[in-house]
Symmetry: C2
Subunit: 227 residues, 2 copies
Amino acid sequence: MRSANRPPARTAPGRSATSRALSVLDAFDAGHHALTLSQISRRAGLPVATAHRLVAELCAARLLLRRPDGAYEVGARMWRLGLLAAPTLLRETALPHLQDLVLATGHTVHLAVLDGTSALVVERLAGSRTQPTRHSPGGRLPLHCTAVGKVLLAHAPPELLATVEADLRRYTPWTTTDPDRLRRQLEVIRRSGLGRSAQEHRPGVSSLAMPVRGRRAWSRRWASWPR
Amino acid sequence: MRSANRPPARTAPGRSATSRALSVLDAFDAGHHALTLSQISRRAGLPVATAHRLVAELCAARLLLRRPDGAYEVGARMWRLGLLAAPTLLRETALPHLQDLVLATGHTVHLAVLDGTSALVVERLAGSRTQPTRHSPGGRLPLHCTAVGKVLLAHAPPELLATVEADLRRYTPWTTTDPDRLRRQLEVIRRSGLGRSAQEHRPGVSSLAMPVRGRRAWSRRWASWPR
DNA sequence: CGCGGCTTTCCATCGAATGGAAATCCGCCC
DNA sequence: GGGCGGATTTCCATTCGATGGAAAGCCGCG
C-alpha cells in the first residue's frame, strides 16, 4: 500500500531531458549490442524509473526495439537513420572499386577516413586469400601503425602529427614508436603514394594502403572532434 | 529593445521533450540528407526556437553535425549507432557469400529481410555484367512483384498475404496484379525454392531469388510493425 | 536602403520530467 | 512452500527545465 511518497529529493543535476535520452543511446556500443533495462540505467547513470520511461519512448519511435527476452537493442529506424550519414555515400561510390580490388588481389580491402586521432573504417570486403581481420565498418584503427592510418596521417595537417606522436602506443614488437622513424616513413609515403605496415598493429597481419582523393574533402568533414 | 515578451501562450500540445527531439531526427530521410534549421522546423512541425535548441543538443551529441554552409546532416555517432542494429550483423555474416555470388554470376546481388509489408534491402553488391539498380541498403521493395519479395511472401504467415493482396500495385505492364496468379506463383516458389520476377517491378530488370534460413528467425524479429 | 528569409537570443510561464518508493514479477535456493 | 535477490513496472508530489513568441542580428538581393 502506498503511504508516504516523499518529494523526489531534488536529484536532477541539470541535464536536459534530451541529453538523458541520448545518454541512453550512448549506453549501446560495439561490445553491448543488447542491454536490459537495469544495465542501461547503470551504464547511462540514470535512475531505473527514468531509464524505463525514456527507453519506452525510444522503442515507440523504433530507435530501439525490445526483444522477446526483454533485452533492448538498436532498432530498424536507427539503422536507416545511420545510413543517411556521410560514410554511407562514400561507401556506395567506393564499393565497386573495392570489389575490383578484392577480385584483382584476393586480399581483404579496407576503406577508412580520418576521424579525430584515429582512422574510421567505412567499409571492409574480405578477400579469399586472407583470413578476415576483425575491423568491421565503424571500427577504429590507430594512425601510427597501420597502412591506412599512416597514409591518412601523411596527408593530414601537421598539428595532428604532433598529437599522434604524443602517444605512439606499441601494439607488437614491430610497431613504430620512434617519432623520427615515423616522420621518415610519412615522407616516403608522400613521395611514393603508398603506405605499408608489416605486423605493426597485429602480429601476422601486413597491409598496403594508398590515398583516395576527390572533389569533396572527406577528411576535413570528419576531423572536427577528438573522439 | 525588448519590451513586452508575452507568455508563451500555451502551445505545448503535450508531446514529451524526447518525442520532439525524435521528430527532429525524423525530418531526415532518404530524400533529405541535409536540412537547414528552418527546413527542420517545418518538417518536424516545431517552432524554430524549439528546433534550434534541440538541434544544438543533437549536434553536441554528434548525432547530427553542422556543415560549414550551415546545413545539418546525420553525424558520425548516428552512423555508428546504426551499425549496432541487427541488419549489420546479418550483413557481416552474409557478405562473403554475396561476394561469391557476384563473382560466380557477374550479376548484382541483393540481400533483403521481411519488414512489415515490404522487403528491406540489407545489402547490395553490384555485378559487372548489369547496370546497378537503385536499391541501396535501407531501401524497400514491394513483396508482390520482386523476386526477393515473392520469396519472403511465400514463406511468410498467411495473414501477410491477405494484407499484400489488398494492394497489388501495378508498376509495369508485366506486374502480377491477379491474386490467384500470385498465389500460384508462391506455391511454385515453395516447391522449387526459387522466386523470379521478369520486369514486374522495373522495365528491363529481371531477377531471381532464393530463401536463406538460419537458426535465428530474422523475419520474426522485424515483422512487428507495419511501416 | 529596405525587404524577405534564415538564424540566434531572451525570458516569463507552467506543464512535463523527475526519481524515491511501493508493488509486481521471476528465477533460484534451501 | 516460502523466502530471497534482482529486474521491472507503476505511482505521484514536487519543481525545474522546456517552451515558443518576440525581438534582434545577419545576409543577400534588387
